[in-house]
């Protein structure tokens, strides 16, 4: 089983491709998306996605807008923002909007893996709690 199911969102195709190769090598399950709308579409298609790695600066729907949409539609999915120097503020805004963390681009792959792992773990804990609560609800109702 993969460490995490990831959706990598960036408008730079070569970047996405290489990252997928590297992350896959590190036992991750990665899907590509090349823009905000694309990411939302992919998320809707693949419910397994646990973590979204999201570039802040993209033409069309930018990172922040995409984040808002993701948090609205898929609240449990954790988002890690990727940012350049000029858009650190946007990343911080993203944190306020519920992003898990942010990383400077280009980032160290190990650090990224670490963050992704944490995020996935958090998501899973989250889901477990939800399942537990639902179970409790069912069992208590059975009495």
């Amino acid at each position: 089983m993969a460490i995490a199911n990831i959706l990598l969102v960036d408008d730079e195709v070569p970047f996405v491709d290489t990252m997928i190769k590297r992350l896959t090598k590190r036992n991750m399950d990665v899907l590509p998306a090349y823009g905000g709308e694309d990411a939302l579409k992919k998320l809707a298609e693949n419910k397994r996605v646990e973590v979204v790695i999201l570039d802040v600066k993209m033409p069309g729907m930018d990172g922040l807008e995409t984040l808002k949409e993701i948090k609205k539609e898929f609240p449990l999915v954790e988002v890690i923002m990727l940012t350049g120097h000029a858009t650190v503020e946007s990343a911080i805004d993203g944190m306020k909007l519920g992003a898990f963390d942010y990383l400077m681009k280009p980032s160290d792959i190990d650090l990224l893996v670490e963050k992704v792992t944490e995020a996935a773990a958090k998501k899973r804990r989250h889901e477990e709690k939800i399942i537990e609560a639902q179970m409790r609800k069912i069992t208590t109702r059975g009495r």
Binding site: P14, R22, K57, D62, A86, K105, P106
Partner: protein, 613 residues
Amino acid sequence: MAEILNKRNHGPAYYADFRLKIALRIVIVSLAPLVLVTGIILYQFHVYANQMVHAHLDQLVLKHRQKIDDFLKQKLSDISYLSKSYQFSQLKEKPFLQQRLRALQVDYSYVFVDLGVIDDNGRQVSYAGPFDLDQADYSDSEWFHKARARDTYISDVFLGMRGQPHFIVAVKREWQGRMWLVRATIDFMAFNTLVEDFTMGKTGTAFILNRQGEFQTRAPKGTLKLTLQQYKNLFKMGEDARGNKTGDHIIAPSVLGQNDLFQIAREYEPKIDRYTASPPHKYTTFTVEKKGEDSTRCLVVAAFLKNDDWLLIFQQEKKDAFAKLNETQLIAVFITFAGALLIIFMAFFISGQLVKRIARLDSEKEVMNQQIVETGKLASIGELAAGIAHEINNPVAIMVEEAGWIQDLLSEGIDKGDNFEEFKRALNQIQTQGHRCKGITHKLLSFARKTDSRVETLQINEFVTEVVDLLSQKFKYANINVDVQLNSKLPTIQASATEIQQVLMNILQNAVYAMEKTGGKIIIMTGMDDQHLSVSIKDTGPGIPSDNLARIFDPFFTTRPVGKGTGLGLSICYGIINKMGGRIDVESKVDEGTMFTIVLPLKNPAPIFKENI
């Protein structure tokens, strides 16, 4: 105002001209009242002093005339008294006459030289005095004939039988049906002192003249200024003056010579002349101004004496008479002149200082402007650099990841699977991204390298393309479509490349900033007419509120948050375009968009020398 950033270099000629203008204004404003007041005061003073001098001289002459008249009258009445107090039987006796003479001499300090009694045949019946004139025959003498015709008589000065200058006072009496004359000789010296002590200043002298032009006193000291004929003419002039009632200025008859003459005849209280039964006339003095033979101007004041037979003449050189006045005027003129010189000096000194200071401030302002422009340039380059850095970040990230991927594969070994092919692909990708970086940095460098403001021949279209290219990444991320419509027939213009870049850059960056959130469209058009070319940059942004529209070109006016904008961009644009002789127009509607139009003349004004800082 946006003109603050208008670079204008003033040469030394400008400042010299400026200084002259200031100095002249100061001089005119200061000197006009000074000169006017001094002039008026001097003129008034001149008139007043003239009157004073004339009045003073008139008074003196009149007083003397009075004194002399009184003297003569006195002597006459003494003799008259003598003739009435004693019988002719007594007077004919010599001893008695000598006694009388002594009595008179004791009383009048030898004014009377001698006494004589003369019968109607002109024979001196008795005589008392120092000369041997007993039985002298005066029947042929002029004075005897004149004396016989009057009750009283004062003769002119003459030498007579004694060969000394003297004059005679005579009284006519009737005794025993015959006519007798009692006469006395007046000592000429004693009479002379009366007139001689009437001197003034250095050149003022007085003398008495009879109608024949003979001196009745000693001829005046120093030179006679006028010819005898001219003196004689005074008689006629005086009479004319007296007869004239129309005014006190008289143009003297030309008899007096070619010089302009004027006389002032002043009229005084009428007094009865006691010597004759002729109708009373007015005491008058009259004044004549005349150029003497040595061409010094003279003042001649005269008054009639002795029943208009004599003229008391006082003459003084004009510059002497008006010495005080002239001295005062000279002082006043000197002070005015010195004051004027001081004012002129100060005006030039102060204006020089002022202009020097202004020039210094100007050059300081120039430096400030340059610095502001540089700051603006730096700010826009900074903004650009941030964008470029961001743009570079993507290829760099790809390169880093590709390199990382190679490292990942190296840990497995090159020969494993199709790793070698993957290596080649990754290295190619790194190369590709490296070139991409180079392209970006070159764009930035070409923009930042042109920091000198030299004017050259350039094609605006190229610059539009270049700047659009430079900002393409920004447009992309802000979702802005750029539509560039260039007029290919656009002629080249003379301008500074860096400044043109700056202007286009600033306006475009503003447009991007305005539409960053919303996205939109930018239309850039270049066009021309016969005298101008234009670049219009139209966006579909939020527009500029009309309150701000008037202020957008002001330095440091910005709507961006602190630290985001300097507020210098547009003011620099304004300055640059204005300097080139062009203008920037703005049209804006809120919620619809904004259009900036840069209009530049095809014929540029002469390139302006500009220092590089």
